[in-house]
Every structure is written in structure tokens, then in C-alpha cells.
């Protein structure tokens, strides 16, 4: 029970009461990581460091002086956060083997509060993707592919096929973190969210995924995708845990000038009993092309749930939503082009053997170091930034971004407290199907429901809601007002309580363990 339960009520209590020790907890997670290696959720497992941290934590508990509610709690961190002494790769050849000399602020905060850092989780290269399929270490497998729930409902074409070809993607780009939380190998994980990269895999993996307000959590040490939209994301098994994580991470960081100056007060979430004072907005534009009927039905059911509980449920309009993806494309690629300029092979990371000239070394280094997706985005970003194009693309996109942000401002000003939307268009698709489309098309489709919140900098959360007909998780998204995380999470917690999302039944894990592990090894190192 301790392993599957939440931070506030189960594990932390168990640690405090000595029913489980940090080293036991750490050991169990490490064993689970081993037995779920085939998920490819982790790029690096920091086994030794984690054990040491657990031992330190244990000493503190013995003295009766745990540092915080997170003391001794095993966590995982997406591999685009810098971790001193542990490889930080961004799932790219460019940074393979790169060991950062410093901790990201969020990582430092976790360590300072006693959390045990198990390792670094898999992602799309430099977080560019929506499947966690485009990293140099291979795709992440959705733990639900191996759940009893999925197995019972999806009918394999033949016996030999089975889960091996039917396994579904985690979504992305924080798929490793979502899979890690979903498969019980850690209690909470850090992701990053630029266009939905935390909420999307959270929805597909049946976990809570919180994208806080831009500026609430420090980005220092997060290797950027789009600086003006990136936020560290939080993945947990329940909304209460997300609130705990938020409380331990949020606040001003002198190393990140874009964090808010105000002090952040950590909060406990109340148990909402009365939702009658709430106004829930249903943005009609989120009834997007490609939205599965299943999710549509779930969405209206959720709306009814609020209505029946006495909340005001109002259809609202965010008219510029449809421009968000193309606008995002311009702004994202422009910042990517700029941010990636530093990877020239001189100071750190991969350096090509090409020695003809400095320029040819740059070119070869970047060709060898980046995958097609990254190079494609650099190319288009540089195009948009050219003097002759800047007005027509970048400036225009910035204006559209402002319009999108204003849409939200207007809706919230009209009295809406929270927006309720789907997180994804459908449940997770099998890997074989996913890779039929290219990364760009996929990202454009998959970010459509999550991405506008990044444009506007608003807090948003995925709450696992139900299982699809195929036995896969489906989540809904709540979007709140800027810096109103407490209200957002309170509503999300109420909703979570109503829907009673089922626990994943991972009995397949052990059976698949050996055969798939072998397969995975050959796949990721070939």
C-alpha cells in the first residue's frame, strides 16, 4: 500500500511512523525500475547516489528530524534538468555523456528537502515531440500497455503479436517521467511543459500532470526549449501530491529573473464539499477536429458532474485558439534556433572529428549531434528570424500570442473560475501507428488542447478521469487563472475524488520482464 499510495497520507506517514524506512523504499523503487526496464522510462539510474541519499534520510528519521514531507521520498527527474554528477543528456547525441557541474534549482530544492533522486527520465530529444519516441535512447513504453486493464480489452491480432507490437506510447515529451510515476518506480517526477509536454503524457499514463503558472517555478537549470513558455512540470499519482511538490518547488529564484518576486506560501488542499459557487467554463473551440467521441462524451459527463453538484457550467469562447498551433510553431522554432546555437562542440557536448575549419567543425558537430526534428526546427526558426521575415512571422506570431492570452483574460474576467477541457484528442495510440506520421504533424495535433495555456502562461492540470474502451487512461484538463494554483488544484482534487480513476494493474510486468528486457537492450543500443 505504501508503494502505491500518495505522499501526504500514505508514504510520508509510513516513513514517519517507521512502518517503512527510506532505504527500504528506495530499494523497492530501484528493484521496480530494474523489473520495468523494458518501459525505457529512465535514461540514467543513479543507484548509488540514491542509496546514499536514502541512508542520510534514514538517519534523519531516526533522529526524528526529517527535513520535510518529501524526506526519503523517491523521485525522478526528466533528463533535461541539470543534475550535478549525474549525466544530463536531453536524449540527444549532442549531450550524451555530459555531466553538469550544477543542479537545476528545482533539483536542488528536492534534494534540500530530503527527496531521494533515483534517476533521469527519458524524453524526446531536447523535449521536442509529443510521443517520447524521438530520443536517442529509444521510445518510452506506456506502462498501461502491460496492464491487465489494457490486456483484457484490446484484442491482440495473434498470440505472437501480443503486447510486443501493441504497446502504446506515453505521449510526451515527458513520457519517461509519466511512465515512471505510473509504474510506481517513483512517487513524483519532474517534467517540463512547453506546449503540453507534462499534461499530455500524464493523460496517456493516467497520472496527475501539473503545469504551473509561468514564473512560479524557477527554470534555472532546465535546458530550454522555448524560454518564454517552458515551465517545470509536476507528475504525481494524485492532486494532493502535486500540491506538495508545488509547495516545495515554487517561489522566487534569484537565478531566474522571470520568476515572480512574491513569496509563495505552500498550501494544503481543502476537501471541497460545495462547488455551487464555482463557474466552470467549457471552451467550445476545444471541441477540436479529431477529438474522439469517447473523450467528447467523457468531457460532457464531467461537465454534467459539476452541473449536478451545483456549479455553474457555461460554454465560453476562446476565439483565437485555432491560430495557436501555427503561432506556436513560429515562436517555438525561433527560440529553438537561438537556444541551440550554443551547441557548437567547443565548450561541452559532442564535437565532430572534422578539422578542416572551425565552421566545418560546427556544421559537422551539429549534424551529428542533433536529430532531424531538432535540425528541422533550427532551420525554420532561423528562417523566421531573418531580417526580411522577422516582421511577417515573428512579430505577427507575438501579436497572435497576445490575442490568445487576451482570450483567456476576457473569459476569466467574465466570471469564469476554471476552464474544463480534454487534455488529449484520444487515448494513447500504439507505437507502430504513432510513427506513421512525422514528429511535426504529431506535435501539431497533440499539442492543440494543451498549448494555448503555455502561450498565456496559465496554470493547467491533467486529472486522470477514466479508462477508454481499450482500457487506456483518459484525462481531462483544468485551466486556472494566473497564480491561482490553489483554486485550480482544489477543484481538480474535488473532481479526482468524484471520478475514482482506477489503479493500474501491472501484473504483466514480471512476465514480460526478461524477454522484453533483452529486446529493449538490443533496440536501444543498436
Amino acid at each position: 500500500a505504501a508503494l502505491t499510495g500518495g505522499l501526504r497520507f500514505q508514504v510520508s506517514a509510513a516513513l514517519r511512523e517507521g512502518r517503512v524506512t527510506p532505504t527500504e523504499l528506495c530499494q523497492r523503487c530501484l528493484s521496480l525500475i530494474k523489473s520495468t526496464r523494458f518501459l525505457n522510462a529512465y535514461i540514467t539510474v543513479a543507484e548509488e547516489a540514491a542509496r546514499k541519499q536514502a541512508e542520510e534520510s534514514e538517519k534523519r528519521y531516526r533522529r526524528g528530524q526529517p527535513l520535510s514531507v518529501l524526506d526519503g521520498i523517491p523521485v525522478a527527474v526528466k533528463d533535461n534538468f541539470n543534475t550535478a554528477g549525474i549525466e544530463t543528456t536531453c536524449a540527444s547525441n549532442m549531450l550524451k555523456g555530459y555531466i553538469s557541474p550544477y543542479n537545476a534549482t528545482v533539483v536542488q530544492k528536492l534534494l534540500d528537502q530530503g527527496a531521494v533522486l533515483l534517476g533521469k527520465t527519458n524524453l524526446d530529444e531536447f523535449a521536442m515531440g509529443s510521443g517520447s519516441t524521438d530520443g536517442v535512447f529509444g521510445p518510452v513504453r506506456n506502462p498501461w500497455s502491460y496492464s491487465r486493464q489494457y490486456k483484457e480489452k484490446s484484442i491482440p491480432k495473434s498470440h505472437s503479436d501480443g503486447a510486443e507490437s501493441n504497446w502504446v506510447i506515453t505521449g510526451g515529451s515527458s513520457g519517461g517521467s509519466a511512465a515512471a510515476v505510473s509504474s510506481f518506480t517513483c512517487f513524483a517526477a519532474l517534467g517540463s511543459d512547453t506546449g503540453g509536454s507534462t499534461r499530455n503524457p500524464a493523460a496517456h499514463c493516467g497520472v496527475v500532470g501539473l503545469k504551473p503558472t509561468y514564473g512560479l517555478i524557477s527554470r534555472h537549470g532546465l535546458i530550454p526549449l522555448v524560454n518564454s513558455m517552458d515551465v517545470p512540470g509536476i507528475l504525481t499519482r494524485c492532486v494532493d501530491d502535486a500540491a506538495i511538490m508545488l509547495g516545495s518547488l515554487a517561489g522566487h529564484d534569484p537565478k531566474d529573473s522571470t520568476t515572480v518576486q512574491d513569496n509563495f506560501k505552500p498550501f494544503e488542499l481543502p476537501n471541497l464539499t460545495d462547488v455551487s459557487k464555482l463557474s466552470i467554463g467549457i471552451p467550445k473551440e476545444y471541441h477540436a477536429p479529431g477529438l474522439s467521441s469517447e473523450i467528447l462524451a467523457l468531457w460532457s459527463k464531467a461537465a454534467d458532474l459539476f452541473k449536478n453538484a451545483g456549479a455553474k457550467v457555461i460554454e465560453v469562447s476562446l476565439p483565437h485558439t485555432c491560430y495557436s498551433i501555427v503561432c506556436y510553431h513560429v515562436l517555438c522554432t525561433a527560440e529553438v534556433a537561438s537556444n541551440m546555437a550554443r551547441f557548437d562542440g567547443l565548450e561541452y557536448g559532442h564535437r565532430s572529428d572534422m578539422k578542416k575549419s572551425t565552421e566545418s567543425m560546427y556544421a559537422a558537430t551539429r549534424r551529428e549531434g542533433f536529430n532531424d526534428v531538432v535540425r528541422g526546427r533550427i532551420l525554420s526558426g532561423n528562417y523566421f528570424l531573418l531580417k526580411q521575415n522577422y516582421e511577417n512571422y515573428f512579430i505577427k506570431a507575438q501579436k497572435v500570442r497576445r490575442l490568445i492570452a487576451n482570450d483567456f483574460v476576457k473569459v476569466f474576467r467574465s466570471g469564469i473560475d476554471i476552464l474544463l477541457t480534454p487534455t488529449t484528442l484520444s487515448d494513447a495510440v500504439p507505437y507502430m501507428e504513432f510513427i506513421k506520421e512525422d514528429n511535426r504533424t504529431r506535435s501539431a495535433q497533440d499539442d492543440i488542447l494543451t498549448q494555448a495555456a503555455n502561450m498565456a502562461g496559465l496554470p493547467a492540470i491533467n486529472v486522470p478521469t477514466a479508462l477508454s474502451e481499450r482500457g487506456l487512461p483518459v484525462g481531462l484538463q483544468f485551466i486556472g487563472r494566473s497564480f491561482q494554483e490553489k483554486q485550480l488544484l482544489t477543484v481538480a482534487k474535488w473532481f479526482e475524488k468524484q471520478v475514482k480513476f482506477p489503479v493500474i494493474q501491472l501484473e504483466e510486468v514480471k512476465r514480460h520482464d526478461h524477454t522484453v528486457l533483452q529486446h529493449q537492450k538490443s533496440a536501444s543500443f543498436s
Partner: protein, 509 residues
Amino acid sequence: AGARGCAGVWRRAWQRGAGGPASARRGQRAVACNTRGGAVPAGKSGLTPWVPVVGLEIHAQISSNSKLFSGSQVQFAAPPNSLVSFFDASLPGTLPVLNRRCVEAAVMTGLALNCSINKKSLFDRKHYFYADLPAGYQITQQRVPIAVNGSLSYSLCIDNKMSQMVTKTVRIKQIQLEQDSGKSLHDDTRSQTLVDLNRAGVGLMEVVMEPDMCCGEEAAAAVRELQLILQTLGSSQAVMAEGQLRVDANVSVHHPGEPYGVRTEVKNINSIRFLAKAVDYEIQRQIGELENGGTILNETRAFDSKLGCTVPMRDKEGKQDYRFMPEPNLPPLILYDAKSLPANMNHQQVVNIDWIHERLPDLPSVKRAKLVECYGILPEHSFTLLNEEGLTEFFENVVKQTQMKPKKVIGWILNDLLGYLKQHSLTVKESPVSSFLLADLLNLLEKNEISSTAAKQVLVELWKGEGKTPLQIVKEKKLELVQDQKELEQICQAVMDRQENEVIMMVLG
């Protein structure tokens, strides 16, 4: 010799133009440049005069303990790569944090140059690949710089005569904050490039001057005045030899009434003297080129101080598109004044323009005026006093300690002290004669205890720095003037006694 000849061409040509169809504004400049010229043999084209146009872009390294966006120290000549933070080396995930001191230095400089200070300025990224630019972009202020629309008054003397000084003004287009780059050392024999990032990220103020100058001497005088201002403010040490002040000159020539010519940018100028030379050479070169039917390329040229000429620089792969983009990691830089300052704001968190304005030290022009007023010295003497570091203080100390009139003291300072120091390449600080000793000596002179000839003799002894006081030297060398009436009579009597014949002749008439 070639260079001199060229100089003649434009001076002469210009002289003719002064009376010609030049516009009023140009005409004003014409007078200035005109005054420098002498009679020079006619050039080839002869008929149409040339108007040289000179604009300057000056990078002044901000004098601060730490860099513009990181906590690394700023220090000249530290061991390579010893002052490099994670941010300076562009490690992934690092973010810029603006150094308040650099902002204050830029505001001070802006105010001293009569600029309007933008209460909201922005940072941008300027992209180019270069080994000493680790991030692949420089953070600068392209769209909205911190200060705009200022002016700088400077003076220069006409015909090299200190007595004929004119004051001119150059408009300041803007001052922007930006990062310095690292340094690349190219080892061609081993085909290696060595990179030192100590300088990478040091704060710079780029001062952009409008093309209001027309010759090397004007450019040099303007830069010298700017240098004095920066040093007075302490916003930059502005030592050109240490690269704290780097000047690029944009030079073009055109015929009066016609649009500006194609300009070249002259870089690699590392002293004020070379600035004047480089600009004049470039003007001459362009006129020569055009008069020979050639064209001027819009190119970057380097000044070769040994050859005294400018040469085309290795072009950085043709025209660069810097792909400017707003710096997303820095919020707009907001400055306050007394009116806009929010009451609840932490004083440490804000930069208050009015507060800085009230605390600006006297600028060189004010100091000079005060010297002229206080001491009754000539304006040109006040320039000399300020031009040498520490000389004003020296002068004022001497004045304080002596009864001699400042007007007389200044002669001793400028002729004797400065002459000696220059001759021996010494700074004022290194002078073997302190202000106290000089004052002592001048007091002897003032009290008529020695003659002015004797005083010069004493000074010669004092330069030796043997620790003797002027009085000791006077005694040793028996240089004192005789004050006693009887003694004087005796001396006279003795002289007359010795020269009896002459005395008789004189008496007889």
C-alpha cells in the same frame, strides 16, 4: 609621405568647398575643418570639394566587480579562463541575471552625456557563430536601449595653438548595454584557436555617436572628452591600451549637397593618437580612390599602426544576418525616478534615475570652468590640468600651500613640472617632487628669498629626489637672495673696490 600628401588633398579641396554650396550645417563643420588646413598644392580634380563624415561607435567596458549577467569577477590580465562562470561558458540551462551596478553605470553615463534615459529598455539576442561567443549570440539592446538622444561637447585647438580653442558638439544617438565577447588567439602555425572567456560577458556600454565629425582630430578630441567623463564618473576606467575603451570609426566622403558616400568601418584602433591618424588616413584614401575613378566598398578595415594605414579586414563571410530576437530570459529593464518610484519598493531592487542624477560628480567641463573661475587661469590651462591624471589635484594642493598666486603657480605646473614629467615619461603620481616640496620652493620665491633663476636651480636638484628640502638646497648652494641692508652695502662696496677704475670712469661719465 604619401599619407601627408593625401591629407593635403582633402584639406585643400575642403577649403575651397567652405565658400561653396555646402549646406548650413555642413558649412559650420567646414569652418572647423577649414581652420586646420594650410596651403597645399592642387589635387587632380581640383574643382569639387569633399566633405568627410565621421561617426563613432565606442565600446566602453563598465567598471564593475562582476560581469553584466553573471557573478564572475572582472579583472584585466587574469590567468586565461579563470574568471568564467557557468553562464559565461553558456552551459545549458543557465540564465542571465542583470548586474545592477552595470545599469547604474549606464544611467550615470547617459545622464552625463545629456541623454534621455528610457524608463523601460529591452534586451535582445544578436546571433553569430564565433569561437569566443559561447552562446552563439550576444545579449544587447537593439530595439530599446537604455539611453538615447544625448550630446557631447568637446574642444579642440585650431592650428595646434593652445590659445585658439573651439568647442564643438557631437550628438549621441544611443547608449546600449551589452555583453563583451571572449578573446580568440589564432595560432596559425599550429592551426589552432585558443579561447579565453575571462572577458566573455563583461558589461559594455556601446556609445553610438552621430556622424557629426569631419576629421581625425575632432574624433580624437571627442573620444578624449568621453574618456575623461567616463573616468570622472567611474563608470569605466576607459584605458584604451587595456581594451576598456574600443573605438570603431565610420568614415565616408561626399561632395557638398550630395548624399553621404559609402562608408567604411575602421576597427583595431587602440589609442587616441591612432584614432586621429586612422580617420585622416581613411578620409584621404577614400578621396584618392574616388578621384582616381574608383569606388568605396562598404567594408570593415583595420588600422595598422605600424604602417599608419587602414587595410581591409578578413570579411566575416560576407553580409551577416544577426537574426535579432527578444531575450526571453530577461524581463524589460524598468528604471524609476522620484515620481514613479513605488512606495513599497525595496530600495535595493530599483534603480532611481533622480537619485543617480543628484550624485553625479562634477564633469570635466564644469571642473574646468571652476578652475578658471577659482584661480583665474586661462581656459586652455584648465584643459591641460584635466588631461593629465592627478594634475589638477597637484595644482590645487600647491596653491593651497603657497602664498603665490595661482596664475603664477600654473606656469610652474605646466611648464616645469609637466615638462619634466613628459620628458621622463612619468605620470603625475610618479613625480619625484611632491606638491608639498614644490609649494615650499614657490614660497621661497614668493618671499623673495631666492630669485626665479635660483628657484629653477633648486628644482633641478629636487628632481634628483634625494629627500632634501628646497631650503636645504638653497643653503647648500648658497642661492639665497641677500636681505640685509648692511651686508648688501658691503657687497657693493667690495665690488666697487675691486673695480675702482670702472667706478671712476662711471662717476666721470
